[in-house]
Symmetry: C2
């Protein structure tokens, strides 16, 4: 039986600093520590955990998330009033953090894991890819060797000459027989994307993510028609409202909680993408087990997962999502099922 | 706390015969009794109620629904495994009946009304329209007089000459100051729709539903551009997958549980339509309080409601949804909150 929603909810924000195992480089920059905002929403009996992962490209920071919540008290006393709590113009990472914390609290009150609240079978999770950032070929090959039995790799491209990028993939493919996805993070232009993707075709690439800068559906369509592999968007598809203009231009989308505003926004994207006949990847940022586990609860609904955040960090204070040779294993506890690790 | 899902679920189908207050006539035909299939799913402790309303136009009948369930035993032991229970090729009305019964059972197990499980505020329900079928002008005016304080009417058109249809609306507008919607149920062709809608514009019509036969998005676009009122589809928009091809051609859609396969299918349609910038109406068939109440639980998410089924039937054995001058009032009980009336 659900408890009454009459007790006031309190919300706290703190900073979560996540040291990275390896400095992580993509076409836009490099980082050695990831900083996210930890959200705790309590009703006095239960505490819901959320994580807001600010995306600098979209103007958010841990400080802006904290400032948002300082200026905007919770609108609801009952965590089940999700629509009202999440209505209006909330910045995406802050919205995701609040959405996750409220979902976690709802699941804990009802005694039900989130996958069950979403009607899903926890055995139907996909295998996640493991992401390899941009590095010289020797470093890249060393990383591939370290994780060589992982069945799916996602290789970041989009920086350097065509020859360098092709050499990277050629070198990986010479030692690695698993599935390879690539992600250019907007690093190419249309002719460049077509040129390089035609070269890469021979290495059996599963798909290419965001080959060109966001905002050019016709360009995506041209790349898709010329490239010998499926095209998936990320920076072009932040929320469900971004999808209709991509109709007929791409094969799939990457759904990230930090961009679409959490589980509720992700469900809207998944439903819209399915209606459009698109394939769906669930991705994450460099973030803790809170956000990765939240995404994992929706993963039985999608085709592809790129939920490797927990592989990339060195001292995550939370645990939840697990993996069996890359296949996502969902925790069974109520809500997110995320636990705080005892301090070392 | 949720109960264990290990106890087997049993499902029963029976016929629900709903005598109508007035024989109901639309462009396609006339009826005096509505027959639907009542679905009961029990776990031994709780019983979930569902209703499958067959739509003859799409080849279903009460008998075909019963035959479907006789041939296809439930696939799940746990009602929360909705995705698995509803996967694959289930005929829409049968799917809706099963979806409703499982949702009702889940809500009863968790002790939570469905609106709360969907994260919604029960105060945010819309006002429903009251539908008036096709009749001669005197009969129509008598019906309008009977329900003259109802704030929204939906008038069925699509049969007879232009002059007769215009006369009907003119006569209603001369005595009625509330909101008027019209529904042609595919009864016009493109030039005919443009001709009659331009004439009707002066009577302040809120929108026109399904002016032309389904399957002609370009025709809808032409009608929409020429008509002085919003165009909403019904027969053209059965499921979420029907929506992308309507992009830019219409202003809104009617969502009906019996066509989209229940609450889960309706949520997918609502999310997809919102992403496309469409307005949303929730409609019903001539059916009992079970199906109308189920739709009502989603109604805080939509712009318009046409949930007047309970006004049209004379001896509904169930009660749930209520109305305050047309504004939908949701029951507070767990699940659907529908109760079986004591036999008279």
């Amino acid at each position: 039986m659900a408890e009454s929603g009459s007790m006031a909810l309190s919300l706290r924000v703190s900073t979560l600093a996540l040291p990275l195992r390896h400095p992580f480089r993509i076409a836009r920059g490099e980082a050695s520590v990831a900083r996210t905002a930890l959200i705790r929403v309590s009703d006095g009996s239960h505490e819901g955990l959320g994580e807001a992962t600010p995306v600098a490209r979209y103007g958010e920071s841990v400080e802006s998330v904290a400032a948002y919540f300082a200026a905007h008290p919770l609108r609801v006393h009952d965590p089940m009033r999700l629509e009202e709590a999440l209505a209006g113009d909330i910045p995406p990472a802050a919205r995701a953090g609040l959405d996750l914390a409220l979902h976690d609290l709802i699941g804990k009150r009802l005694g039900v894991p989130l996958y069950a609240l979403f009607g899903l079978d926890p055995a139907k999770t996909p295998v996640t890819s493991f992401t390899i950032g941009i590095a010289d070929t020797a470093t890249t090959l060393r990383k591939v060797a370290e994780i060589g039995d992982h069945p799916i790799l996602k290789i970041k491209l989009g920086l350097g000459t065509d020859a360098e990028q092709i050499e990277t993939i050629e070198a990986i493919r010479s030692t690695y027989t698993g599935t390879i996805r690539i992600d250019a993070n907007e690093g190419w232009d249309v002719p460049g994307a077509i040129r390089i993707l035609r070269e890469l075709e021979r290495f059996e690439i599963e798909f290419c993510e965001q080959p060109i800068p966001a905002g050019d559906p016709a360009g995506l369509r041209a790349v898709r028609e010329a490239a010998g592999m499926p095209i998936v968007t990320d920076e072009d598809s932040l929320t469900a409202a971004d999808l209709p203009r991509l109709y007929g231009c791409v094969d799939g989308i990457n759904v990230k909680l930090a961009k679409c505003g959490g589980l509720r926004g992700a469900l809207a994207m998944i439903h819209t993408a399915r209606a459009m006949g698109l394939r769906i990847m669930l991705g994450c940022m460099v973030e803790s087990a809170i956000a990765a586990t939240a995404a994992a609860h929706l993963s039985p609904l999608v085709d592809w997962a790129d939920l490797d955040g927990p592989f990339l960090t060195a001292a995550d204070p939370f645990e939840g999502i697990a993996y069996e040779r890359g296949k996502i294993v969902l925790p069974d506890g109520p809500g997110l099922g995320v636990r705080e690790r005892a301090p070392a």
